[in-house]
Symmetry: C2
Subunit: 450 residues, 2 copies
C-alpha cells in the first residue's frame, strides 16, 4: 500500500515578458508561470502525480503558499484511497472550512486546489496506464456522476439529470473514441491576432493559419475601436468568407461600451466575441448578448467555479462556454461544467495558451466528445504554439487538429531540465538571462496570452 | 516628505476553536485570525497604518504571502502621494496585471489588497487626526466619487448618478453627524443564537440581549429543519413580538432546499434570512426570494467584489445587503457598494464579528448614514462581544448601539502585547496554550462566527 509522502511545489516562470511580440488589452507583460505540484509517493512502483496552477508571473509564489496550505489534507493519505474516489478527494480539499473562508471556491485557494486535484488525476491515470481522457471516458455514468460536487447546482442540474445525459451518450462512446484516435479534435489558433502586429504580419499569419488547416482564427481587440474595425476587416479579407473569425476583448469593456463596440465589429462576421466584460458579470454578458443579437458571446477562462457557469447558462448570457483546465478545482469541477453545458445545449470551446494549458485542456474536450455532449459540432480547442517543448508529452497539432494523446497521465509533466532552468529566481533562465536565452532561444516563437 | 519603508505583516491567530461554545452550519472550528499589515514610514512624525485581512485560521499565511506580493506597489511610494489620492492608490493595487490574474478582484489576492488599502486609510486618518468615518464624511461629493473604480459598474451606476446621490445627502451631513455623535448607530447581536446552545441558554441570552437594548437578535440555522423551527419559535417566544429576529444559514442550502426551509421558518416573523445559499449565486438568491415572497433575503459578507453586489441589486436578489470591511478591496470598494445600494434603495446591514471586523465596519455604516443613504432606518451593525480587548480603540456598544469612535484612524490597530502573544505559531498563546489561557482567560466569552 502506497502513501503520499510529499506535496512538492516549484515556482516555475518563463521570462516571456522580455521578448513578447505584443500583448492583449488587459495583460501587457505576462511571464507565463506555473505553481508546479508534484505528488510524491513512498513506493517506487507508483508514479508521481504532476499538476500546476497557471499564472502570469508575480504572485506565483502566492499560489505556492496556497498549495502548501493543503499539505495536511494530502500528505499521509493512501494512494488507493485518493485514486479510488477522486470525487471524494476533491471535495475533501474544497470542504476544509478554514481554507474555504479564503474563497469560498474562487481565486488563489481554488486554483491551488485545482493544481492538486489535477496532479491526483495525473497520478491515477499514469497508474492505470491511460491518458486522463481515456480513464474518464471509460467510467460508468454512475462513477462519472460521483466525480461531481452538486452543491449549489441542483436547481439547474440534478444527479439524475446528469445520469440521463451520460447514459444517452454511452452507446456511442466506442465509435467516437475510434474517430477521435483516427482524426483528433478541431483546433483554432490565436497566433495571428496580436494587437501590436503590422497589417502585413497579421495578413501573413492569418493566411498561414488557413493553409495549416485551422478552421477558425482569433484576434485581439479592445484598444481602439476604429483600429479594431480596420484590423478585423483586414483579417476577414485575409482568410476569406469560409473561415471562422473570433475576437477577444480580454475583459476590456463595460456593458454599454461592449454593446457599441461589438456592433461596429459585427459586419466582419464573427464566430464569437470573447470576454467582452468582467468574467463575474453574468447579467452584464446577458445584456450585451441581448443588445448585439446574433453575435455570439463567450466567456469562461476566468470563470471562478461551477456556480458562475451555472448562472451564465441560466441567464442565457453566452452562446459559447470557455472552460480552463487550471482555473477551477480540477477535472472534477470541469466535469460538472461540461455536464451543465450539455444540459443547456451550449457548446464548450476550451481556453488554452499560456504554459501547459493546451496540454491539459485537450483531455477535457475529448471527454466531452466521447462521454458527455457526444459531438465536436461547433467546437474547437484553442491552440497557441509556444512552450510545448518543456513538456514530456506535448500536444501534437496537425492539419488544424489536436491529435489524441496516447501517453498515460494528464500530459502535465514538465521535463526535468525545464523545471531546473526556469525555477524562479534561481534557475539559469533568471540568473543568466542573456546567456541562457542566446543558447536556448526560449523566445523564438510568438508568445501571446489568449 | 515621508515615504513608505515597509509593508510588514504578522500572522495573528486566536485559538478560538479550542474553546468554542458552538459553531455555525458551515464553520465548525474557526480560529479567528488576522493577516495583519503595518505600513511603516521613514518619518517618526508620520504614524504607521494598520490593517488586516480576516481569516479563520489555516491559510492566514497564504494571505500574508499575498500581502507581500504587493510590496513593489507600496514600498518606496511617498505618503503624500498615497494619502492624497487613495482612489488612485487602490486602483494601482487592483490594476497590476500579473497579480490581477490571480482573481481577478476576488479571493486571497483581493482580500490582501483590502488589508493594504484599509491600512492606508488608517494612516491617512491618523495623520489627519480624525477617525476614518469623519475623514470620508467630510470629503466633497467630487472627492468621494474619485474614490470609486467605476469599471464594470456604469450600466448600474455612473459617476454622475453617484454625484447626485452624494449631493442630495450633503445638506444634512452636519445634523446627522451631531446625531451620530450624540446617540451612536443601532447594533444587533448574534450572541444568543448558537446552534449548540440548550433551550434554557438560548432563552436566557435572547432575553438578556433585549434587556441590554438590542432591537434585533440573530440565530444560526441550517443543521436540521425540525430543530430549527423549534429553536426559532423558542427565540421568538423569548423576545416577544416587537424585537427583530433574523436567522443565518451560512450558505448551507441549495436553492430548492432554501425555499422549503425558509417557508417553514417564516411563521416566526423574520427580519431577514442571511446567506441562504452560495454567496456567488445571484440568480439563486433571486429565485429563493421570489419563492418565499415576503421573507427578506440577505447576503454579502462573502461577496467578492462590487461587480457581484451590482448584480445582486440588478437582479432584485436581496432585501438587505451585508457588507464586510475586510473581504473586498477596502474602504474604496465599500464606498462603491454603499453607493450602489443607495441607488437601488436597498438597506445595508454590515457583517461583523470575528476579530476586528466590528472595529472596522462601524466606520463604513457611519459614512453611509452621514454622506450616502442619509438614514439609519431599517439598518443596524452586527455586534459580537469578543476579542475587542486586543484593540487600541475597541468598539463601544451601549444600550444596543455602537457609540461613535472618536480616536484618529480606522480602529484597526491591535495592542503590541496582543500582536506578540498571538503571533502564530511562536506567540505564547500557541507555544504554551494551557498556561497562557489560564492566565489570560482569552476564551471566557462566547465565541461565534457570524
Amino acid at each position: 500500500m502506497a502513501f503520499i509522502t510529499a506535496l512538492d511545489t516549484l515556482d516555475i516562470r518563463f521570462p516571456t515578458s522580455t521578448q513578447l511580440d505584443g500583448s492583449d488589452a488587459m495583460n501587457p507583460d505576462p511571464d507565463y508561470s506555473a505553481a508546479y505540484v508534484i505528488l510524491r509517493t513512498d513506493d517506487a512502483a507508483v508514479p508521481d502525480g504532476h499538476g500546476f496552477a497557471f499564472t502570469i508571473g508575480r504572485g506565483n509564489e502566492v499560489q505556492q503558499a496556497a498549495i502548501h496550505a493543503l499539505d495536511h489534507l494530502v500528505v499521509g493519505r493512501s494512494v488507493d484511497e485518493i485514486t479510488g474516489d477522486l470525487g471524494g478527494f476533491a471535495r475533501s480539499l474544497t470542504d476544509d472550512s478554514q481554507l474555504r473562508w479564503l474563497g469560498p471556491e474562487k481565486g488563489v485557494m481554488h486554483m491551488a486546489i485545482g493544481a492538486v486535484v489535477n496532479a491526483a488525476w495525473d497520478l491515477a491515470a499514469k497508474r492505470a496506464g491511460k491518458p486522463v481522457w481515456q480513464l474518464v471516458s471509460e467510467m460508468s455514468p454512475e462513477d462519472l456522476v460521483a466525480q461531481v460536487d452538486f452543491r449549489y447546482l441542483t436547481d439547474a442540474l440534478t444527479p439524475d439529470e446528469a445520469l440521463t445525459i451520460l447514459r444517452e451518450a454511452e452507446p456511442g462512446r466506442a465509435e467516437r473514441t475510434e474517430r477521435l484516435l483516427a482524426t483528433g479534435y478541431p483546433a483554432y489558433t490565436t497566433s495571428a491576432g496580436w494587437l501590436g502586429y503590422s497589417d502585413a504580419k497579421l495578413t501573413r499569419l492569418a493566411q498561414r493559419a488557413v493553409a495549416d488547416g485551422f478552421g477558425t482564427i482569433k484576434i485581439k481587440v479592445g484598444r481602439d475601436p476604429d483600429e479594431d474595425v480596420r484590423r478585423v476587416m483586414l483579417a476577414r479579407h485575409a482568410i476569406g468568407p469560409d473561415i471562422g473569425l473570433a475576437v477577444d476583448a480580454n475583459q476590456r469593456w463595460g456593458v454599454d461600451e461592449a454593446a457599441e463596440w461589438i456592433s461596429r465589429l459585427a459586419p466582419a462576421g464573427l464566430s464569437w466575441v470573447e470576454e467582452p466584460t468582467s468574467p463575474d458579470d453574468i447579467l452584464g454578458h446577458a445584456e450585451i448578448r441581448r443588445r448585439v443579437a446574433g453575435v455570439p458571446i463567450s466567456t469562461g477562462e476566468h470563470g471562478q467555479n461551477r456556480i458562475l457557469f451555472k448562472q451564465l447558462l441560466q441567464a442565457g448570457a453566452v452562446d459559447v462556454l470557455q472552460i480552463d483546465a487550471a482555473r477551477v478545482a480540477g477535472v472534477n469541477e470541469n466535469i460538472a461544467i461540461l455536464l451543465l453545458a450539455a444540459k443547456f445545449g451550449v457548446p464548450v470551446i476550451p481556453h488554452a495558451g499560456g504554459v501547459g494549458l493546451c496540454e491539459l485542456v485537450q483531455h477535457l474536450a475529448m471527454i466531452d466528445y466521447i462521454a458527455i455532449s457526444g459531438t465536436m459540432q461547433g467546437r474547437a480547442i484553442e491552440y497557441v504554439d509556444h512552450l510545448h517543448e518543456h513538456f514530456r508529452d506535448p500536444v501534437r497539432v496537425a492539419g488544424g487538429r489536436y491529435l489524441t494523446p496516447r501517453a498515460p497521465g494528464f500530459s502535465a509533466e514538465m521535463l526535468p531540465d525545464s523545471l531546473r532552468d526556469y525555477t524562479f529566481p534561481t534557475g539559469a533562465a533568471w540568473l543568466q538571462p542573456t546567456t541562457f536565452s542566446a543558447v536556448h532561444q526560449v523566445s523564438a516563437k510568438e508568445h501571446e496570452l489568449s
